[in-house]
């Protein structure tokens, strides 16, 4: 049976009422061999320092709440085993987001961007209920299935160098989710979303660092979605120029 291993956790702390800027605080944690990073943070909260603030919920990599930078890399802490880390583990809030407190970041900016891309099925005319379910072939599902696995954990935003410098950029998850509906055979809102993709937070700001895809815990591959969205946005723009009535 494996032994308990003591690790030092260097955790970023920030109290908006007291701290001028974030600082770090260290905790020695006896880690069980089967622990994830989140287990250690919960141990700190429960046993060492109840003032520590961090987000978590499902503990099974579905809710996307517990994203943090662990040893500099955006990580879903409920999924990442501790055995891949050394004796000292650095835990910080996600990069590129304002920090509300300790490891908790402000997500309102993301929700505003997400709403811009209308991540739901848009139809010119709603199908009547009597018409039954909108059917889809397996190959039509395959086109967007990967992109629909996004859990909004924000790791992709924390890894993106463009998000850090271009505040208007829609960012990986929002574009991936918009593109997911653009290529859904049941959707008719691609033109509307493509206008958003070409607008202020446009998809062309992406310089294809590919880091969003590298850190994605659900293998959504947002970098692929963004670059496919670029192509479709250009085709849509050209169709608007050359086809009668803008190709409508």
């Amino acid at each position: 049976m494996s032994e308990v291993r003591r690790r030092r956790f260097v955790v970023t702390r920030f109290d908006p009422d007291r701290d001028a800027e974030p600082r770090t605080q260290s905790y020695d944690v006896p880690c069980q061999p089967d622990w994830k990073v989140l287990d250690a943070l919960n141990y700190i909260k429960d046993e060492l320092d109840p003032s520590l603030s961090h987000r978590w919920s499902c503990r099974m990599a579905v809710c996307g709440s517990c994203g943090m930078n662990v040893d500099g890399k955006p990580t879903l802490t409920c999924k990442q085993a501790l055995d891949s880390y050394g004796d000292e583990v650095e835990v910080e809030p996600l990069s590129n987001f304002p920090v509300i407190r300790d490891l908790v970041v402000e997500l309102e900016g993301f929700l505003e961007k997400l709403q811009q891309v209308k991540p739901w099925i848009l139809r010119a005319k709603e199908l009547a209920v009597e018409a039954g379910p909108a059917k889809q072939k397996p190959e039509e599902l395959e086109v967007f299935r990967n992109f629909s696995y996004c859990i909004n954990c924000m790791l992709c935003y924390a890894a993106c160098p463009v998000v850090a410098n271009e505040p208007a950029f829609l960012g990986p998850a929002a574009i991936a989710l918009g593109h997911r509906y653009n290529v859904d055979s049941r959707d008719e809102g691609a033109r509307e979303r493509n206008q958003v993709f070409r607008g202020e937070g446009n998809v062309f700001a992406c310089s294809y660092a590919n880091e969003c895809s590298e850190v994605c815990p659900k293998h959504v591959d947002p970098a692929a979605a963004i670059n496919q969205a670029k192509f479709n946005a250009v085709i849509d723009w050209m169709a608007g120029l050359v086809l009668p009535r803008g190709g409508r």
């Binding site: 908006p16 701290d19 910080e92 407190r101 850090a164 410098n165 660092a209 692929a224 479709n232």
Partner: protein, 147 residues
């Protein structure tokens, strides 16, 4: 602690009631860990800018007469120029390999009724096209075509 990012990065349009700490850049950006290749990729732009300036200089020399052209050609034998061209060649190889690695997944799932071929086929086609164009350029420069 990492450098501060743009203060408006991922900030809501209207600030919330709580004071927040400013967003910070990814800790390893731009020169450490997995960002190194990306930064190098972007930095090769400087090499291409210098190559463009060199091409302009050669065109200028060509228009300035035989002596100026010969002098420009001789100056290209300078070790510094040779080193620069070696760097430019390495840059092209690096950019080509990275671009080809990322290119297939950026293809749209469908263009009209057509679907792109599988990724390994796209990779093979890209490298085949690269080799073919390189061979063509070598043949032209060696005088095999238009010689």
């Amino acid at each position: 602690m990492a450098r501060v990012a743009d203060p408006h990065a991922m900030a809501p349009a209207k600030a919330g009631p709580t004071r927040t700490a400013p967003p910070r850049m990814p800790p390893e950006f731009p020169l450490q860990g997995r960002y190194r290749a990306y930064t190098l990729f972007d930095a090769t732009g400087a090499v291409y800018l210098l190559l463009g300036l060199l091409a302009l200089r050669l065109v200028w020399a060509l228009g300035s007469g035989d002596a100026a052209w010969r002098s420009a050609m001789e100056s290209l034998g300078n070790p510094l120029y040779l080193l620069f061209h070696a760097l430019a060649f390495a840059s092209v190889l690096f950019v080509g390999v990275r671009f080809f690695r990322l290119f297939p997944k950026a293809q749209p799932p469908k263009i009209g009724p057509l679907r792109p071929p599988p990724q390994p086929v796209i990779h093979a086609l890209l490298y085949a096209a690269w080799l073919a164009v390189s061979a063509l350029m070598i043949a032209i420069l060696a005088g095999g075509i238009f010689g």
